[in-house]
């Protein structure tokens, strides 16, 4: 991993974001708001600094939390399905297709409704459903956001596992008389996790989009909501706040993968 | 003395792997006369495929020049090159990958004519049938898809395509190494027959020393992009001078179990020199790479030969 390529890419992306943020002006004439101090949301005006960092941290906590939950659940699910007989595996794959088809909007709204329903029946509130004021909730948004990535990750690991299981090196290890479960855990699963990193970017973009709709429906005052305010500067700075650390992460993952499996092509599929 | 058909001088082609520049071919010079077959022997990573593709001008060389029957084609643009590509044809290694999977055999064989806009549709079909028969396939192959053919048959189709334009020079890049032994013999025989019939000039690239021996008049040895030794086939195989050539020859398994008790001493091969070596004509067009120390050795061995 070299910092030089990182900064070069960062510059590239920055230029691209600047271009995109002024695209509306190019399209409809120059009437964009640029305000370095504050932004408006739902008719109210807020100070931009330093509160944007606070919102940023909050949004990213939800995002990463959901990613971790999704990853964990997906891995456990894959492991469990790998123990099932072949016929059931196909059934599980069918279920994945079904769940994958649910739009994020549907999941977020349904979850919200389920919780309200539980509250009405039992009076037990898992977590504040919508945030009206500035107090923050974590559990529900993380759960809601993790639902779809879980399914996606599950699907990817499932397919990767099936691919990995028939690779020649598995036969070689089998020829050493090593037991199936040992091979599954120590060899196959390990490589599946490695390869999962290749899909990191895809999942990330997908989750950003989910996060956005989640914040809107739950009325969470996070970074994605702020981006909706008609202020070009806010858009610019929010995007760069996301880009700077995550691009770094991508680069680290990429160089790490490149090192351990140098014969493999590293790219997000 | 025959006229040189293709002349290569100081050819270098690099490829860029990320930031690193790697040598594929460096400082290679040789010439191929009309009607002769030059074999190029090299192991994996020797740059033999790059050399072949550079000669076809599929890749642009970084340095050096390529002359085709006296005309320099090194820096020609694609437009200007097109007429030359009628006369230069290539046969590739893997017949499973070098033929378009979505086309009928007839279309594949006619394609060069279509690309070069030669003949009418009817004439093209006629020529395709003629070539199909030439390479020993049934006429009914014309309308079949490529999936119905075995590796050897596919390589025949590839040969038919290469020869339909009546080229002067064929560059064959490992044309038989993907095939079974029994099929390999058939394809080699076919190539030899056709070469004679069309009086083709051929550059035959392979890793297999026996096959190169069978096909070539002259042989060049390539290692890590450098040309190490070149000469008449007899010279190279019976009087190899470069230790690398000798080690290659010693590595061929002997096909006689009665010889197995004779132990061969492993041959020390000097490490690759960082620069392309100077080739020195030792005798009768037998060229050998030489740095100063090696020249002495060659002189010794030559003297020995004279004494014998």
């Amino acid at each position: 991993m070299s910092f030089q390529t990182y900064f070069k890419k960062l510059k590239t992306i920055f230029l691209g974001v600047v271009f995109i943020s002024f695209l509306p002006s190019l399209l409809y004439g120059f009437d964009q708001t640029i305000n370095l101090r504050s932004y408006t949301l739902n008719g109210k005006t807020y100070d931009l600094f330093p509160s944007i960092f606070d919102k940023y941290l909050y949004s990213m906590t939800i995002l990463l939390g959901a990613l971790l939950v999704g990853l964990f659940v997906a891995i456990v699910l894959t492991f469990l399905t790998s123990l099932l007989p072949n016929l059931l595996k196909r059934f599980v794959y069918g279920l994945i297709t079904l769940f994958e088809s649910l739009p994020d909007l549907l999941i977020v709204i349904s979850l919200q409704l389920i919780i309200v329903y539980i509250f009405q029946k039992t009076g037990w509130l898992i977590s504040n459903v919508t945030v009206v004021y500035d107090d923050k909730v974590y559990l529900l948004p993380i759960l809601a956001l993790s639902a779809l990535p879980t399914i996606q990750l599950f699907k990817i690991t499932f397919l990767l596992l099936n691919e990995e299981r028939v690779k020649p090196y598995v036969t070689v290890v089998k020829a050493m008389g090593i037991g199936d479960y040992y091979i599954l855990i120590r060899h196959v699963f390990r490589n599946v996790l490695f390869n999962l990193f290749l899909y990191f970017k895809t999942i990330f973009v997908f989750m950003l989009s989910n996060l956005f709709i989640l914040e809107y429906v739950f009325n969470i005052h996070g970074l994605m909501m702020i981006m909706l305010s008609p202020n070009t500067f806010v858009f610019l700075i929010s995007t760069m706040l996301i880009t700077i650390p995550f691009l770094f992460l991508f680069e680290v993952v990429q160089s790490f993968l490149h090192k351990s499996t140098s014969s493999k092509e590293v790219e997000a599929a | 003395m025959a006229k040189p058909l293709i002349e290569v001088r100081n050819l270098s082609a690099y490829y860029y792997n990320g930031k690193k520049v790697e040598k594929a071919v460096e400082g290679v010079s040789f010439q191929v006369d009309q009607g002769e077959t030059v074999g190029i022997v090299g192991e994996s990573g020797s740059g033999k495929t790059t050399l072949g593709r550079t000669l076809m001008r599929l890749l642009k060389p970084d340095y050096g020049e390529i002359k085709y029957s006296g005309t320099e084609i090194t820096h020609m643009k694609e437009q200007q090159l097109r007429p030359y590509k009628k006369e230069l044809q290539m046969i590739f290694q893997n017949p499973y990958e070098s033929l378009s999977p979505r086309m009928k055999v007839g279309e594949i064989i006619e394609e060069p004519l279509v690309i070069q806009k030669m003949f009418s549709k009817k004439e093209r079909t006629e020529k395709a049938f003629e070539m199909i028969e030439k390479v020993g396939l049934p006429r009914s192959s014309y309308g079949k898809t490529i999936h119905e053919f075995s590796g050897g048959q596919r390589q025949r189709i590839a040969i038919a395509r290469a020869l339909i334009m009546k080229p002067k020079l064929i560059i064959a890049d490992e044309p038989v190494s993907a095939l079974d032994v029994s099929v390999q013999a058939q394809i080699l025989n076919l190539l030899k027959d056709l070469q004679r019939e069309y009086s083709l000039t051929m550059i035959f690239i392979s890793h297999d020393l026996s096959v190169v021996h069978h096909m070539s008049d002259r042989v060049a040895v390539l290692r890590h992009g450098h040309l190490l030794e070149m000469g008449e086939k007899k010279e190279i195989y019976q009087n190899p001078l470069h230790p690398y050539t000798r080690s290659l020859l010693a590595s061929i398994p002997r096909t006689d179990p009665n010889l197995r008790h004779i132990k061969q001493e492993p041959i020390e091969v000097p490490p690759q020199s960082p620069h392309p070596p100077q080739l020195i004509d030792v005798e009768n067009g037998h060229y050998v790479a030489a740095d100063v120390i090696e020249i002495k050795n060659f002189e010794v061995s030559e003297r020995k030969r004279l004494e014998v």
Binding site: P103, M227 | S100
Partner: protein, 313 residues
């Protein structure tokens, strides 16, 4: 691509569902009559027991929206707009990206410097936000400059097409680079073929099934994007504004002009807590369409590589 593709059962089922929706939608006039708007419900005595929107149990099969229009009929009517617009945008995206990819791949060294910035940066901006930023000013313009329905719709569609292109361009270019490395492409080049010939006769046909697959995936993405935009009150073709409520509690309600599903979601969004079915039913149809498309995708993938999918060996 060949006809064997249509032997995949998943593909057939998926296509059947979508075609049925389209068929019912196009033949809407001849199959159904739009029922009367039910704004109020009365019991047997004639006293009022409810105000629209109504739940599916009150007004079967799917209840009504807040104007008392039957959701079932609205959805069927809107199906053609939703599905066809998503189809159209996806196809245009793939076609445009496919053509651009040829140039991008061919002149990679020259064009990269210009396009790489935009392609890389769209990775970090969710497409819904990107679409919102580009489309939001239009709604203002619609009111201010009184632009027509077709004009608005055209601009919106063009922008939605453009938004998807950078990502596709990058994947297609990668695919092309991979195909261009194949030996048979090199062998064609060795015959002296013009670049156009190589792309047109060999590289693009090789990618045909990939294009179909990506189009199906794009339709899904466009559908989700449309749903998001609907929630943000950006409707295809612009919006009509109604003022509802009494004098003391007056508020504006925006509805879609085309009747596409995202619009239904959008104008019912405030009912989320009270009458969730007004949101859930259009969303369920979104899910059904996406599911059918996923079936189609599975079918295509099974056709391309029969063994690697679905736990079968």
């Amino acid at each position: 691509m060949n006809w064997k593709l249509f032997k995949q059962p998943q593909l057939l089922i998926g296509m059947l569902i979508i075609l049925t929706l389209l068929f019912l939608s196009f033949g809407f006039q001849s199959f159904f009559t739009m029922p009367e708007e039910v704004k109020y419900l009365y019991d047997e005595d004639g006293s009022m027991i409810g105000v629209a929107p109504f739940t599916p149990t009150e007004v079967p099969p799917f209840g009504t929206d807040k104007f008392g229009r039957s959701l079932f009929h609205l959805i069927l009517k809107g199906a053609k707009y939703t599905i066809l617009i998503a189809f159209g945008i996806a196809i245009l995206r793939v076609a445009a990206a496919g053509i651009l990819a040829v140039f991008y791949h061919h002149y990679y060294n020259k064009l990269r410097t210009v396009l790489e910035d935009i392609i890389e940066s769209t990775l970090f901006i969710p497409s819904s936000i990107l679409a919102f930023i580009l489309l939001a000013p239009l709604t203002v313009h619609q009111v201010q400059q009184d632009r027509g329905f077709t004009e608005i719709l055209t601009i919106q569609c063009i922008l939605l097409v453009l938004i998807g292109i950078p990502q596709l361009l990058s994947t297609f270019t990668k695919d092309m680079a991979k195909i261009a490395e194949k030996e048979y492409i090199i062998s064609i080049q060795s015959l002296g073929a013009k670049p156009f010939y190589v792309y047109w006769k060999h590289i693009l046909p090789e990618m045909a099934s990939r294009f179909v697959l990506v189009t199906a995936q794009q339709i899904i993405q466009v559908l989700i994007l449309l749903a998001h935009l609907g929630v943000l009150l950006i409707f295809l073709g612009g919006r009509s504004t109604f003022t509802v409520g009494d004098i003391f509690n007056e508020h504006e309600v925006f509805t879609t002009k085309t009747g596409e599903w995202a619009g239904l979601i959008g104008h019912n969004f405030q009912e989320i807590m009270l009458k969730p079915h007004t949101l859930l039913i259009p969303l369920a149809f979104f899910s059904l369409t996406i599911f059918s498309l996923n079936l189609v995708i599975n079918g295509i993938q099974n056709h391309i590589q029969p063994t690697s999918r679905g736990g079968r060996k």
